[in-house]
């Protein structure tokens, strides 16, 4: 456990809070110290004012931290009462968050291309991973899955396509979209796009975020290809900083790690997905 992860309490101001796909919002907050310190794959835990009967904060990952502007971009799905309340926050409204929390993505040690895989609202942390890789000069391809075209966060896909070109690869980046119903991109699950990519192109690692069944599928393909795979997991969280031990993740070796502290990013082989 990383007891040196010491999130702080930050005030934030909502700058933008706009729908960007069905049940999906893009939130831009001003939180200068957070923007300076948060690393790709880490998360924050937001207090959303309004309903005192919900006592827990809402843990959210981010897609982009702009240290110069002092802003952090989050893209979230409205899935319940808490995120609905968040979607109602207006520009100018203030609240607090705790962060940066947890252990994020790691840039692979070996040189070579990474395959990023995002399913649903797993996309934002994958965008953050892509920015991290691009900044480190590491090439990547990406597969982005969504239920259908309406739920696809297209701007995120465009961002992946538009990031600085690979410095170490001479071939073009591939960013593939899959939807369950074929209303955008390839019809099917992300794994159906990942499998041929793994056969066709060379990767040193996979990095994936999305629903548990998707992560299991991606981890199996990585395993078959004998490639390491980082996965970012989602858990209901009590505190978000190691105080309550509620967000346990089963370890392959037995026992549990804490998603908020040891994760949310884990080596797929170390956890039971």
């Amino acid at each position: 456990m990383q007891d040196d992860v010491r999130p702080a309490l930050h005030e934030f101001v909502v700058k933008v809070n706009e729908p960007v796909a069905q049940d999906t919002y893009r939130l831009l907050i001003e939180a200068p110290e957070l923007a300076r310190t948060i690393a790709a794959g880490q998360f924050m835990n937001l207090q959303v004012p309004g309903d005192a009967s919900h006592i827990l904060r809402i843990p959210l990952s981010f897609s982009c931290a702009d240290a110069a502007a002092g802003t952090v971009e989050l893209v979230y799905a409205v899935v319940g009462e808490g995120t609905a309340r968040l979607a109602a926050m207006a520009p100018g409204q203030r609240s607090t968050l705790t962060g940066p929390s947890g252990t994020g993505w790691r840039v692979p040690e070996q040189p070579g291309r990474v395959l990023l895989v995002a399913g649903g609202v797993g996309l934002p942390p994958v965008i953050a991973a892509a920015r991290m890789l691009a900044a480190a000069g590491v090439g990547f391809d990406a597969v982005v899955g969504a239920r259908d075209a309406a739920h696809l966060y297209e701007r995120g896909v465009d961002e992946l396509r538009g990031m600085a070109p690979d410095q170490l690869c001479d071939c073009a980046r591939r960013v593939l979209v899959t939807t369950d119903d074929g209303s955008a991109g390839i019809r099917g699950f992300v794994t159906q796009a990942v499998e041929p990519l793994l056969a066709e192109r060379t990767y040193v690692q996979l990095m994936a975020c999305g629903p548990a069944p998707m992560l299991r599928g991606v981890a199996e393909l990585a395993d078959a290809a004998q490639l390491p795979c980082q996965v970012s997991l989602e858990r209901l969280m009590g505190c978000g900083f190691g105080a309550c031990s509620c967000c346990n993740v089963e370890l392959a070796a037995g026992g549990y790690a804490l998603c908020c502290q040891d994760g949310p990013v884990f080596d797929a082989k170390e956890v039971v997905l």
Binding site: D3, A52, S53, I55, R57, L236, M237, A243, C247
Partner: protein, 307 residues
Amino acid sequence: MSVNMAVDLGGIAMRNPVNTASGTFGNGVQFEGFYDVGATLGAITCKGVAAQPWDGNPAPRLAELPSAIMNSVGLQNPGVAGFVERYGAYLQGLRERGCAVICQIAGHSLEEYARATELFEELAPWASGFEVNISCPNIAAGGAAMGATPAAAAEVMRTVRPLTSRPVLVKMAPHDVAEIGRALQAEGADALSLINTIPAMALDVRTRRSRLARPTAGLSGPAIHAIAVRMVWECAQAVDLPLCGIGGIASWEDAAEMILAGATAVSVGTANLTDPLAAAHVAEGLERWAAEQGVDSITELVGAAEL
């Protein structure tokens, strides 16, 4: 206008009445990014630790309920040796900074409680005192709580008491607090902490299954506060021991209610998750309140409810 906020919790000297509830405050270090724990709190109570490591319960361990949460962590802990290795230096420093450190002892049997106490005695000379968690499941008795009856609670206390000369508190389950409190007092407990979480059940009505990995789990948070205050008051009428009031304390007013009901100290629990600064705010607020109440010492307000 300065009020003496110091209290004596059964031999544990606290600079102010504010403690933290076991399992809601990590082992203190997790909050150092939020405020100076060592300079602010009267005490912290560490997570429950057993002689040997426990894995704890499977996921999910948490559910959110109206003004409450339920948890079934199951006392995941690295064992006394692992705990001391990982947190000993920090906790010794915390005590040197003026914050008492209470180590919580867990066990599945009398032997395990004894062994954990012996290990703490050997490895944690910096501990200000101990809190015995008698709500741990008794493996030999099919999982009922170790201290579910006055006789069973007394037996745990009788096991631990001879093994340490440091203060021993007991963390009490939310039932029969008067009777069990008297039994614990008779066995030499120095103080009582109450209440632990209230056993509760939350079902997913579509799958017909528990929302947590166990059929029942512990309810905590503002929802249980008024129940906890009543139990502290009942226990205070029954025993002649200092009490640490626990249960849904999210504000200084909540803590003040506990003190008026008879608590010498208070532990902030679930509120630490909601607002990591909660315990610090409670300490500040209690001092303002004591001054407004015109007392020289916060101890004058202990049990001072006019009922």
